[in-house]
């Protein structure tokens, strides 16, 4: 059974249909990328799946259950984690505390009445946080205040926060946006590494074609909210409709 399925998922803002009748299936262990020109509805799709936005129509199933009525934190607790387009971190906390917060949510669930219990009693949270920081290569900077990190490292930290939630499905919204070519290459390597290590299923929204073709098993092409093509990278690349809508300029 597919890990994530959307059935006729539709989102309209007033008259504008941002996501139009999308049926998506992601198998466990798969890496799929959603591409498309600006305004194609890629980010909206992620926002729908993570319950940041309410769907107008259709259904979303994760692991066999509908998550359409869930709160965002409940979706995360079920195992869907995300990274944002901008580095969404806790700027005034240290790198380690950033990871600890996500680790706390993973270990303790969304809420607990433990306000009189000292944090030293929670070794498992610290260990998960450190393991994650090690995985994204930030363990050496754990005492640095997050806002003092260079941009590339902030994005790494954001990925670390998403990973410390111990997800089975990771949604990434343009993880290389605003990065230099070297940082982009590092990030691609990092994504492949953590995918191997943590046995993740990944849904990637991306502009950078190189990243997409490197990382994905399968590509879904959106245009004006609707899926216009779907398949392995080589096949999608050769699809004339896709070339016209999006890739045409890239091949020239």
């Amino acid at each position: 059974m597919a890990l994530l399925e959307t059935h006729n998922l539709t989102k309209s803002f007033g008259g504008l249909v941002a996501v139009d009748d999308v049926n998506l299936e992601i198998e466990e262990g798969e890496s799929i990328s959603v591409i498309g020109p600006n305004g194609a509805g890629k980010s909206t799709l992620i926002n729908l799946v993570t319950r940041m936005l309410d769907a107008t129509e259709g259904d979303i199933e994760f692991d066999g259950d509908s998550i359409l009525k869930h709160e965002p934190h409940e979706v995360v607790q079920k195992g869907v984690s995300r990274s944002f387009q901008t580095a969404s971190i806790f700027p005034e906390l240290t790198v380690e505390e950033n990871a600890q917060i996500a680790a706390l949510a993973a270990e303790h669930g969304s809420f607990r009445f433990n306000f009189l219990r000292h944090r030293n009693n929670y070794g498992e949270v610290d260990r998960l946080a450190r393991r994650t920081l090690d995985a994204v290569g930030l363990l050496g900077q754990r005492d640095v205040t997050a806002e003092d990190l260079p941009y590339g490292d902030k994005r790494r930290l954001e990925l670390g926060i998403a990973l410390a939630s111990e997800p089975s499905l990771l949604l990434m919204d343009e993880p290389t946006a605003g990065m230099s070519p070297e940082e982009t290459a590092d990030t691609v390597e990092l994504i492949e590494e953590v995918k191997e290590q943590l046995d993740l299923t990944i849904l990637l929204v991306e502009h950078d074609m190189e990243v997409v073709f490197n990382v994905s098993d399968r590509i879904v092409v959106l245009n004006r909210g609707a899926v216009i093509a779907e398949g392995p990278p080589e096949e999608v690349q050769g699809n004339p409709e896709v070339q016209e809508a999006y890739l045409g300029g890239m091949d020239a």
Binding site: T50, M52, E71, P72, H73, V76, Q77, S81, R82, F84, S88, I89, F90, P91, E92, L93, E97, Q100, I101, A102, L104, A105, A106, H108, G109, S110, F111, R112, N114, F115, L116, R117, H118, R119, N120, Y122, G123, V125, D126, R127, L128, R130, R131, D134, L139, I161, A162, A164, S165
Partner: protein, 394 residues
């Protein structure tokens, strides 16, 4: 032995991270200051010598011109401001309605003392429970909205409480006159609150101060523990980026509600103590200025720390009660009533100085907000670490 933190999960036992932390760094001044025992011990010591230093010590009290009751009042407002800051400084939520919890607890404590029991401990428990319950209900409604709407909603609820106490509920609250029927029994059935403490009279004064001081130390210990529990970290995460906190899987709304209830509970402790302190509940305890004062105290002292707001409360009340009484501003060591008199004739800088206390407070407030965003406590901390660096320490 490795000096790097262990990176594999199975290499450390349950207490692994604690052991490893102490091995990694030698105990420094910073670490000692972090320890819970130190915080509680230092607070107890400070609370114990405060009234002596403020009201009775030679030279110091002469300069400060403090008095016993003001020391008690400072601790009461200090508890209020400290609890309020858990919401404002740590969770990043500005409430303009905490008068509802301070006043609610004060009235509940007063009514309880007249109708049920005059035991001071039970009075505090009754007032505090009432405040916690009110905070739960008002928080549940107000936290539906964020930012400025939240602040306005809390303000509206606070004013609603004021008008309820003023007329519809005047048969309980005494309306404009306030609640005058407060009955105060003996502490633990033994100690009369207004009596001096035998043998320690010179230090702490009355049993009333011992009660208020003891509760204050408990409150500091509780607040300190909360900040070092998972809640402390979650609160700060919500302040920094509540969307991200939600998307790591935390139920942000419930944590905000808990922050609101916890701060309302501290306001309740303080409000109940205020009833015991003054043996009377004025209607103004519900007025919006009470909510405003606690905001000013917290910001003045420093919202980023546990003790800042207590210092802020002390400065605010000092200016309100002592500075406002100064008739003439004179140069130090001039005039007849000084410890060291250089000139017999006082050199008067300004007449009717005390009347300007609101202006003085306003100027201090503006200066602090503009120049020292971490408040006066933050300024003192920076100063302290600068001195230690000069001294070669770390």
């Amino acid at each position: 032995m490795s000096d790097e933190p262990t990176e594999t999960p199975d290499a450390t036992d349950e207490t692994g991270s604690v052991v490893e932390r102490t091995q990694r760094e030698l105990p420094s001044w910073e670490r000692i200051r972090e320890s819970e025992l130190f915080v509680v011990a230092a607070t107890t010591l400070a609370v114990a010598i405060f009234p002596w230093l403020f009201a009775r010590a030679p030279v110091v009290s002469g300069v400060l011109q403090g008095y016993q009751d003001l020391a008690t009042l400072i601790l009461i407002w200090g508890i209020f401001a400290m609890g309020f800051n858990l919401l404002l400084g740590y969770t990043g939520l500005l409430s303009f309605g905490h008068a509802a919890f301070w006043g609610g607890a004060a009235y509940a404590a007063g009514v309880f003392s007249a109708q049920v029991s005059s035991s001071p401990i039970l009075i505090i428990l009754a007032g505090t429970s009432f405040a916690a319950l009110s905070a739960w209900i008002l928080g549940f409604i107000s936290l539906r909205r964020g930012g400025i709407y939240f602040a306005i909603l809390t303000l509206a609820f606070g004013q609603m409480a004021f008008y309820m106490a003023l007329s519809p509920l005047a048969w309980i609250t005494g309306g404009e006159n306030g609640f005058t029927g407060v009955e105060l029994g003996k502490l633990f059935g033994v100690f009369q609150l207004r009596y001096p403490v035998p043998g320690l009279d010179w230090l702490v004064g009355t049993w009333k101060y011992v009660l208020v001081g003891g509760v204050a130390v408990l409150c500091v210990a509780a607040a300190n523990r909360i900040l070092h529990s998972p809640y402390g970290m979650v609160f700060r995460a919500i302040r920094e980026n509540d969307q991200r906190a939600e998307f790591v899987g935390l139920n942000v709304w419930r944590y905000k509600l808990m922050a609101f209830i916890i701060s309302g509970t501290f306001a309740g402790v303080a409000g109940s103590l205020f009833t015991i302190y003054s043996a009377y509940v004025p209607l103004s305890s519900f007025y919006w200025t009470t909510s405003g004062e606690v905001v000013i105290m917290a910001v003045l002292g420093g919202v980023g720390s546990l003790f800042g707001p207590i210092l802020g409360a002390a400065i605010y009340l000092y200016v309100e009660n002592i500075v406002s009484g100064v008739q003439q501003l004179t140069l130090p060591f001039t005039g007849p009533n000084e410890y060291v008199t250089l000139v017999q004739e006082p050199v008067v800088l300004m007449d009717g100085f005390g009347a300007y206390w609101h202006l003085i407070l306003g100027l201090v407030f503006v200066a602090v907000v503009v120049l020292f965003p971490r408040g006066i406590w933050g300024l003192l901390m920076d100063f302290g670490s600068a001195v230690r660096k000069l001294g070669g320490g770390r």
